[in-house]
C-alpha cells in the first residue's frame, strides 16, 4: 500500500483552506449590485390568508421589491417518489407553492419576500408586511390527524397522504398462529431537527444579456436542484440555469431537498435583473429545514419455543408535516419497511405505513432516513423479547442471525443482501467493549450509587442509493446512478468531475486516493471538482451513503476508459499491438520488451499528436462514465453501549460506546472513523438529548439552541470504533458506505442500555430522548406500580 493509495490514512486535501478561513460557503459569496431577501413567514400553524398589505414595506427605506404568492405564480415544489396505496391508487400530492396564497400550513410557511439593498433594511421592512389571518384549528398529533377533524389540505381526506403495505400478510398471520410467544411494543421514533452548522443560503443571479440564471445554494445535489427547479418550478431550461453548491457546511440530508427559498431568489433575480441573496437565521433553520424521523409504531414479534423469530407485524404512522418534501414519501416506505427483517432470518414480515399530513414543518430524510427507524424498532423489540423469554441478549441474536454462508440472502421484504458476517461484527464488538468485564464495572458503579446497564444493537442498512431499476420499481421518479469524468491534462495531471457532492465527507481526498492508485500518478496531481453544474456533466448528488459505492465506481470506470484509450496511444507511439500493451504503476509497456511510456508522456502525446491514424485514434484524453449499481449495498454492524444512570436524578451518562461496523473495503480509515464518530454522536443525540416539540397549537417550542439540545463535547464519550470487512459484491472497490451507520446502529444500543440499567428497578421502557426528567418519571412510575402490587 502506498502512502496515499487505497487503505491509507491520508490527511485531507480540503483541510488547509478550512483551517485558514479560506473555505467558500454560499454566505461568503457576494455579487455586484446584490440585494438581500428576507422571507415573511407565518407565525401561525394553520390560518387562512384574508389579505396581505405590502404597502408600508414597499415604501420602507432601501426596499427594492415585495413579492407575494399572487405575484409569484410558478410551479409547485415536486416530490420525487410516488407511493401507491394498498388499493393501488397513487398517493395524494397536494400543491406545494414556494409562496403560499390561500392558507398557511405550518409555523414558518412562506408568505412573502421582501428584497432590499441591505439585509438590515429587508429585515426591518419585513416587519411591516401586514397579513390578515383567519385562524384555523391546527392538527399536530398524527393520531388526531387521521380522524380528519381539521384538514391540512382541503382535498386530502383524513390527512392521509398514503396508506401503504409491504410483505405477505397471510403468511405473517400464519406465523403468529404458531407462535410460542409474542412480544409487543409501542414505540415513538422522535422527531429531530438536522442542524447542519451552516444555515441554508441561496443567491440567485440573472444575466439579462445572455438570459442565463445562476443559483448559488447550500445543496447536497446541485444537478437535482437544477432539474427540479428548472423543469418543474420556474420553467428555466437547463442550458440557461447554472446551480453551484460550493463548500457546504454539513447536510445530513437536510440539504438534499429543493426548498422554496431557492426558487424565490432565482425567480426574483430574474424579475429585478439584480442578484438576490438569502441566508437563513438559525431560527428559520429550525422552522423550515426539513425535519427527520417522527414515527409512531406498534409492532409484534412472534417467536417459537426456542426463541427463533417466526414473524413480524408492524403498523406505523409517519409524519410528513404540512407538505411533501422532495424525498419524504420514500423514507417511511422503501427506506424503512424494506429493512424490517434486519439481520435476522425472520421468514414472514408484514408492515403497513400510513403517511400523515400535520400542521408542522415538512419531514424528510435525515442521516439514515428510514433505516434508523427500522433498526430502533427491531432492536428494541429483540431486546424486549430476550427479557421476556429469558434468553440472553447475545444468544437471541445469534440464534436468529442470517448465517454468513447464506448470502446472497433474499429477505421477505424485497431486498437481497449481498454479503455480511454478523457474528464476526458481534464477536469483534464484544471483544472491544470488554463484555467480560461488564459485571465488575456494574458492581463498581453500584458502590457509587449508580445503576449501570449494557445495551446491544445488531443492525443492517441499505445504502449506495440506488439501483435505478429497483428504485424505479419502488416508485422513484428518477434513476439514481452517478457520473464521473476524468480529464487528463497535457502534462499528466488530472481533474476528476464527480456528480456526487462533498459537504464534509472528504471526497477531495478519498477520490484522489482512488484515482492516484488506478492511474499510477501522484496523489497531488489529482484534483476533484464537484458541485457546479457548469463544470460537472450530471450527477445525483450525495445522500444515502452513495458517493463512494456509486460515484466511486463511476470514477473507477472512467479511469478504465482512460487506460484503454491511453493503451491505444501507447501502442501507436511504441509501434506495438494494442493487445501487447500492459499498464502498471503509471507505466505503459510492450509485453516482453523494455519499450515503455510513462502516463504523463501518453497524456502529452494525446494533446500534441503528430501522426495519429485519423480513422482510429482521436486526440485528447478525457473520458466519462455513468454507473448504475445492480443492488443497494448493505453495511451492518454491532454497537454496544454502556450507561450509568443516577437513580435519584435520572441523569444518564454514556460510559462506553463501541461501534464495530462492516462498511466493506475502507479507502481512508481516518475518514471512515470520523464518519462513524459523527453518526454515533447524532444517534446518541437522538437517544438522550434531541427532540423536536410542537405545542398543541403548532408553535415550535424547540426553536433555538437554547431549547433544542444539541450534543456538546461533554455530553459524549470517546467512541471505540472498529471495522470488520466483507466486500460488497457488485462494485469493483467492494465498498458499502459509512456515512449513516453510526446514526442507524446507535440509538437502540443506548436505549437498550438505559432499559438494562433500570430493569432492576422494574422499568421496561424509556422513550427517546431519554432526558433526566423522562428517566426519573419512568423510575417513579415503576416504583408506584411495584407498590400497588
Amino acid at each position: 500500500m502506498s502512502e496515499t493509495g487505497i487503505g491509507a490514512a491520508v490527511r485531507r486535501k480540503e483541510d488547509r483552506r478550512f483551517l485558514t478561513g479560506r473555505g467558500t460557503y454560499v454566505d461568503d459569496i457576494n455579487r455586484p449590485n446584490q440585494t438581500w431577501a428576507v422571507i415573511v413567514r407565518s407565525p401561525h400553524a394553520h390560518a387562512r390568508i384574508k389579505s396581505i398589505d405590502t404597502s408600508a414595506a414597499t415604501a420602507a427605506p432601501g426596499v427594492v421589491a415585495v413579492f407575494t404568492g399572487a405575484d409569484m405564480q410558478v410551479g409547485g415544489l415536486p416530490c420525487g417518489w410516488q407511493i401507491h396505496n394498498k388499493d393501488g391508487s397513487p398517493m395524494l400530492e397536494p400543491p406545494h407553492p414556494p409562496l403560499v396564497s390561500d392558507k398557511v400550513r405550518h409555523v414558518g410557511d412562506q408568505v412573502a419576500v421582501v428584497i432590499a439593498e441591505t439585509r438590515s433594511q429587508a429585515r426591518d421592512a419585513a416587519e411591516l408586511v401586514a397579513v390578515d389571518y383567519e385562524m384555523l384549528p391546527a392538527v399536530i398529533d398524527m393520531r388526531e390527524a387521521i380522524k380528519g377533524g381539521s384538514l391540512v389540505h382541503d382535498d386530502v381526506p383524513n390527512n392521509t397522504c398514503y396508506d401503504w403495505e409491504l410483505g405477505d400478510k397471510a403468511a405473517t398471520d400464519e406465523a403468529f398462529a404458531k407462535a410460542a410467544h409474542v412480544t409487543k411494543i409501542d414505540i415513538v421514533n422522535n422527531r429531530l431537527i438536522p442542524n447542519a452548522m451552516e444555515p441554508r443560503a441561496a443567491l440567485g443571479e440573472y444575466d439579462a444579456a445572455s438570459g442565463d440564471y445562476t443559483l448559488y445554494t447550500t445543496s447536497q445535489n446541485p444537478h437535482v436542484i437544477r432539474l427540479l427547479m428548472g423543469a418543474f418550478v420556474l420553467q428555466i431550461p437547463e442550458h440557461k440555469l447554472r446551480v453551484y453548491a460550493p463548500d457546504v457546511g454539513g447536510g445530513f440530508g437536510s440539504k438534499i431537498f429543493h426548498y422554496a427559498e431557492e426558487a424565490i431568489v432565482t425567480w426574483s433575480a430574474g424579475k429585478l435583473a439584480r442578484p438576490v441573496k438569502w441566508v437563513a437565521d438559525r431560527s428559520e433553520s429550525f422552522q423550515v429545514d426539513a425535519h427527520g424521523r417522527d414515527h409512531v409504531t406498534h409492532a409484534e414479534l412472534a417467536l417459537d419455543k426456542d426463541g427463533k423469530f417466526l414473524g413480524l407485524k408492524v403498523s406505523t404512522l409517519a409524519n410528513m408535516g404540512a407538505y411533501l418534501s422532495t424525498f419524504a414519501s420514500s423514507v417511511p416506505t422503501y427506506l424503512y419497511a424494506t429493512l424490517l427483517a434486519g439481520v435476522y432470518t425472520t421468514p414472514a414480515v408484514y408492515a403497513e405505513v400510513r403517511a400523515v399530513f400535520t400542521n408542522t414543518g415538512p419531514v424528510d430524510a435525515y442521516r439514515g432516513a428510514g433505516r434508523p427507524e427500522a433498526s430502533y424498532l427491531i432492536e428494541r423489540l429483540v431486546d424486549r423479547a430476550a427479557r421476556e423469554t429469558g434468553i440472553s441478549q447475545i444468544d437471541i441474536r445469534r440464534r436468529n442471525f442470517i448465517p454468513a454462508e447464506a448470502f446472497p440472502y433474499q429477505t421477505p421484504v424485497a431486498l437481497q443482501y449481498d454479503s455480511g458476517d454478523y457474528n464476526a461484527t458481534l464477536d469483534e464488538a464484544l471483544k472491544r467493549a470488554d463484555f467480560d468485564g461488564f459485571a465488575a464495572r456494574k458492581a463498581e458503579a453500584a458502590k457509587r450509587g449508580k445503576v449501570r446497564g449494557i445495551g446491544f444493537s445488531t443492525y443492517v442498512e441499505a445504502c449506495g442509493i440506488a439501483p435505478s431499476a429497483v428504485a424505479g420499481a419502488l416508485g422513484a421518479r428518477a434513476g439514481l446512478y452517478e457520473s464521473a469524468e476524468i480529464r487528463v491534462h497535457p502534462t499528466g495531471s488530472v481533474t476528476v468531475f464527480t456528480g456526487s457532492h462533498s459537504h464534509g465527507q472528504g471526497h477531495e481526498t478519498t477520490f484522489a486516493q482512488i484515482v492516484s492508485e488506478q492511474l499510477g500518478i501522484p496523489f497531488d496531481n489529482v484534483d476533484i471538482s464537484h458541485g457546479d453544474t457548469s463544470k460537472v456533466q450530471f450527477g445525483m448528488g450525495t445522500y444515502g451513503s452513495r458517493s463512494l459505492a456509486v460515484g466511486g465506481e463511476a470514477i473507477i470506470r472512467a479511469c478504465n476508459k482512460i487506460i484503454d484509450k491511453a493503451k491505444k496511444i501507447a501502442a501507436h507511439v511504441l509501434e506495438a499491438s494494442e493487445a501487447d500493451i500492459e499498464f502498471k504503476d503509471g507505466q505503459f509497456t510492450v509485453a516482453g520488451t523494455d519499450k515503455k511510456m510513462a502516463f504523463g508522456d501518453v497524456a502529452l502525446t494525446a494533446y500534441v499528436p503528430h501522426n495519429f491514424p485519423h480513422e482510429t485514434l482521436e486526440p485528447g484524453l478525457d473520458e466519462t462514465a455513468f454507473f448504475d449499481p445492480l443492488n443497494f449495498t448493505f453495511p451492518a454492524g454491532c454497537h454496544i453501549c454502556e450507561v450509568e444512570v443516577d437513580p435519584d436524578t435520572g441523569v444518564v451518562e454514556v460510559a462506553n460506546f463501541t461501534a464495530v461496523d462492516d462498511v466493506g473495503r475502507v479507502i481512508n480509515p481516518l475518514i471512515v472513523e470520523g464518519q462513524i464518530h459523527g453518526g454515533v454522536a447524532q444517534g446518541v443525540g437522538q437517544a438522550l438529548l434531541e427532540g423536536c416539540v410542537y405545542d398543541a397549537d403548532g408553535q415550535l417550542l424547540t426553536g433555538s439552541y437554547m431549547d433544542y439540545c444539541m450534543p456538546r463535547a461533554d455530553d459524549l464519550p470517546s467512541i471505540n470504533a472498529g471495522t470488520t470487512t466483507t466486500l460488497c459484491k457488485h462494485n469493483t472497490l467492494g465498498v458499502k458506505g459509512c456515512g449513516e451507520v453510526g446514526a442507524i446502529g446507535s440509538p437502540p444500543a443506548v436505549i437498550n442500555a438505559v432499559v438494562d440499567a433500570l430493569s432492576e428497578l422494574g422499568v421496561t421502557d424509556v422513550p427517546m430522548p431519554a432526558t433526566p426528567q423522562r428517566v426519573w418519571q419512568a423510575i417513579q412510575a415503576a416504583k408506584t406500580a411495584a407498590a400497588a402490587e
Binding site: 485558514t20 479560506r22 442542524n195 451552516e198 439552541y705 463535547a713
Partner: protein, 156 residues
C-alpha cells in the same frame, strides 16, 4: 447614523463606518471580507464566530463592532504564518478534527484560548471547555484528540 470604528485586525489597522447595530462578526465578514469567521446561530451558542479580542476568545456575534473599537482582534485568517499553520491548526488537520469545516474556525480559536488558560488540559477539561462550540460532524472525538495534541505542540 453611521459611526466610525477603528481596530487592529490580524495585525493591520482598519477603520470603518458602520450602523451602530452592526455586530463585530458583520464588520469582519461584510466590511473587511474576512469570511473565515462564520455565523451558525442567532442565540450566541454555536461558537462558529469565535475570534480573539485582545487575546481572549469572544463570540463576535455577541459584540457590537463599536464595542471592539480600539481592540486587537485576531481571526482564523490571522493564525498561520505564511504557509506554516499554527500548531493548533496543524493538530486539527493531523487528527482529522474537522469535516465540513464550518464550525472549525471557531473551534480552533476557542481551543487556542482554552490552552492559554489550561496549558495541559485533560480530556474532561477539553470537553467542558468546548461547551460553547457546537460541531455536528465529528462527534467531537477527533476534536478532543486534536486539542490535546495542539496543546502539547503549543507547550513546545
Amino acid at each position: 447614523m453611521p459611526v466610525g470604528v477603528s481596530m487592529t485586525v490580524n495585525g493591520k489597522a482598519v477603520t470603518g463606518s458602520v450602523e451602530p447595530r452592526t455586530l463585530l462578526v458583520q464588520f469582519l465578514r461584510e466590511h473587511l471580507g474576512l469570511t473565515g469567521t462564520h455565523v451558525g446561530c442567532d442565540t450566541s451558542q454555536c461558537g462558529a464566530c469565535v475570534v480573539h479580542v485582545d487575546g481572549i476568545s469572544a463570540k463576535s456575534c455577541t459584540l457590537l463592532a463599536v464595542q471592539a473599537d480600539g481592540a486587537e482582534v485576531t481571526t482564523i485568517e490571522g493564525l498561520a504564518k505564511g504557509d506554516e499553520l499554527h500548531p493548533m491548526q496543524a493538530a486539527f488537520r493531523e487528527n482529522h478534527g474537522l469535516q465540513c469545516g464550518f464550525c472549525t474556525p471557531g473551534m480552533v480559536m476557542s481551543a487556542i484560548d482554552l490552552v492559554r488558560m489550561t496549558p495541559d488540559p485533560s480530556e474532561q477539561e477539553i470537553r467542558e471547555g468546548l461547551e460553547g462550540n457546537i460541531c455536528r460532524c465529528t462527534g467531537y472525538h477527533n476534536i478532543v484528540k486534536a486539542i490535546k495534541a495542539g496543546a502539547a505542540a503549543m507547550r513546545g
